[in-house]
């Protein structure tokens, strides 16, 4: 049986100097009487000593940066200068990638405008019966922008982003942690990585608008997407951790509420 302190990573944190003084004293006392933890500490010391011999390589072979700089210059020269307005014509996949920040901001504007429009118009409407979160709606209602109808294409973009994010969450929550399927996990990780940047941009813009409730939802979503995209699967421990996070933050319900209440 593995010692609880070892299982929780306390011994590593002790070695890394990441424990408080009290925790450190407690760990030291524990180490005096636990052979397994002493052995683990010794193993970590051996690993660290070996890693300390790992070379620090801070330049290409021979310290010659000329090829690297030439390639970088060529790549930079091939880049269009960042534009603050999008081109009118249709864009390629790569071009769309460069326009993501613009599209995200524009879609956010649509999101905010649509939320306000819906809330102002529907003050007397019955709130969703299922798990309605008043704080989210309150934050949105503080927005005092004129309620004009946004571009339907941008609303659609926001909508697609939320739908795809929910798809990732639903996929993750329904995975069997006892036997996670590699191909499914792969799909969710890739989709999460694709959605992450837009989510971050939405969240920042929402924060700038002072919409803390919506920002909280997006921050939690961002955390789940980040953890998902950083995981390598099938990794039972990571999957369980992500599922716990989604449950604990009640993220699916909160996303449904935001979605139903605004865009």
């Amino acid at each position: 049986m593995t010692c609880g302190l070892l299982e929780r990573g306390t011994i590593e944190l002790y070695w890394y100097g990441e424990l408080s003084q009290g925790e450190r004293d407690e760990a030291r006392r524990h180490l005096d009487r636990c052979l397994e933890c002493r052995q683990a500490l010794h193993d970590i010391e051996i690993i660290a000593a070996a890693l300390a011999e790992r070379p620090e390589v801070a330049s290409p072979p021979g310290g010659d940066w000329s090829r690297f700089m030439a390639e970088l210059s060529a790549a930079v020269a091939a880049e269009p200068r960042p534009k603050r307005t999008p081109p009118a014509e249709s864009v390629t996949r790569a071009g769309r990638h460069r326009l993501v920040p613009y599209l995200a901001s524009a879609a956010l504007l649509a999101l905010v405008t649509m939320s306000v429009f819906t809330l102002v118009r529907g003050r007397s409407a019955t709130p969703p019966a299922d798990g309605f979160r008043a704080d989210v709606a309150m934050d949105v209602s503080f927005e005092a922008r004129p309620p004009s109808l946004p571009d339907p294409a941008l609303v659609s973009l926001s909508d697609q982003h939320f739908q795809r994010s929910k798809l990732v969450l639903l996929g993750l929550t329904t995975r069997d942690t006892a036997a996670p399927a590699a191909e499914d996990w792969e799909y969710e990780r890739d989709l999460a990585a694709t959605l992450l940047q837009d989510t971050r941009l939405y969240r920042r813009a929402v924060e700038e608008h002072g919409m803390t409730g919506l920002a909280d939802v997006l921050r939690d979503l961002e955390m789940v997407l980040l953890q998902t995209s950083m995981s390598e699967g099938p990794d039972r421990e990571s999957l369980e951790g992500i599922q716990r996070l989604i449950r604990r933050r009640d993220l699916l319900t909160r996303m449904s509420v935001v979605h139903a209440g605004g865009f």
């Binding site: 929780r8 990573g9 590593e12 944190l13 890394y16 990441e18 002493r38 052995q39 683990a40 500490l41 010794h42 193993d43 970590i44 051996i46 690993i47 660290a48 070996a50 890693l51 011999e53 790992r54 070379p55 620090e56 390589v57 801070a58 330049s59 290409p60 072979p61 940066w65 690297f68 700089m69 390639e71 970088l72 210059s73 790549a75 930079v76 880049e79 200068r81 960042p82 460069r98 920040p101 890739d190 990585a193 961002e222 955390m223 980040l226 953890q227 995209s229 950083m230 995981s231 390598e232 990794d235 421990e237 990571s238 951790g241």
Partner: protein, 195 residues
């Protein structure tokens, strides 16, 4: 000239300012990329990717943030992206993959990496290469960059608990891999039976 002077000039299209930024920060970027990749070929790819992303994003850089922290995050994301691209492109299963890898010099540790640490070093190098990208990034940031867990969490935009768990998982895997290979057992024996 400071970073905060160079950034707006580079963002405004001044190539000399951008070059000065690259020259100032390329050793850090390359060092982290090499620690992650273990060979020059991939380290150069990652570093190129990082500076291209920097170039594309300079006009969005927030001046209340440290450039090095921002750069760190870009490097780590580039490392993870690079790993993902490698995995999705041309990975073949089983013995064929092993053969491919053995015959692929770009995937082997560079001469500097091969020179260190004897049996433990080699076993560690192999196992670090097998760590999931997220764990590897966090492990490298802690062990090689010497960053505190709070700094890693801040740089990667993760909760500190997540960083702890990932680091714990990485160390756990390394210990077990080395024990499986009997490397730790022999090292412990040589050290007189442990602490």
């Amino acid at each position: 000239m400071s970073d905060s002077d160079l950034i707006p000039r580079a963002a405004g299209g001044d190539p000399a300012a951008f070059q000065a930024l690259v020259e100032r920060h390329r050793p850090m970027v390359y060092r982290v990329a090499y620690q992650f990749a273990g060979n020059h070929h991939d380290a150069e790819d990652i570093a190129q990717d990082v500076f291209l992303k920097v170039f594309r994003s300079l006009d969005r850089f927030r001046y209340d943030a440290q450039l090095t922290s921002w750069l760190y995050r870009i490097v780590m994301n580039a490392c993870i992206d690079h790993r993902r691209r490698q995995k999705s492109g041309g990975w073949v299963p089983g013995e064929e993959a092993e053969g491919t890898l053995l015959n692929m010099p770009e995937e082997s540790p560079g001469p500097e990496a091969r020179a260190y640490g004897g049996e433990i070093g080699q076993a560690l190098e192999a196992e670090i290469g097998r760590l999931p990208a997220g764990q590897r990034v966090i492990f490298i940031m802690r062990h090689h960059q010497g960053l505190k867990l709070t700094e890693i969490a801040e740089a990667l935009g993760l909760a500190e608990g997540t960083v702890k768990r990932q680091l714990h998982a990485a160390v756990h895997r390394l210990r077990h891999a080395l024990t499986r290979a009997n490397v730790l057992a022999s090292a412990n024996g040589a050290a007189g039976g442990g602490a």
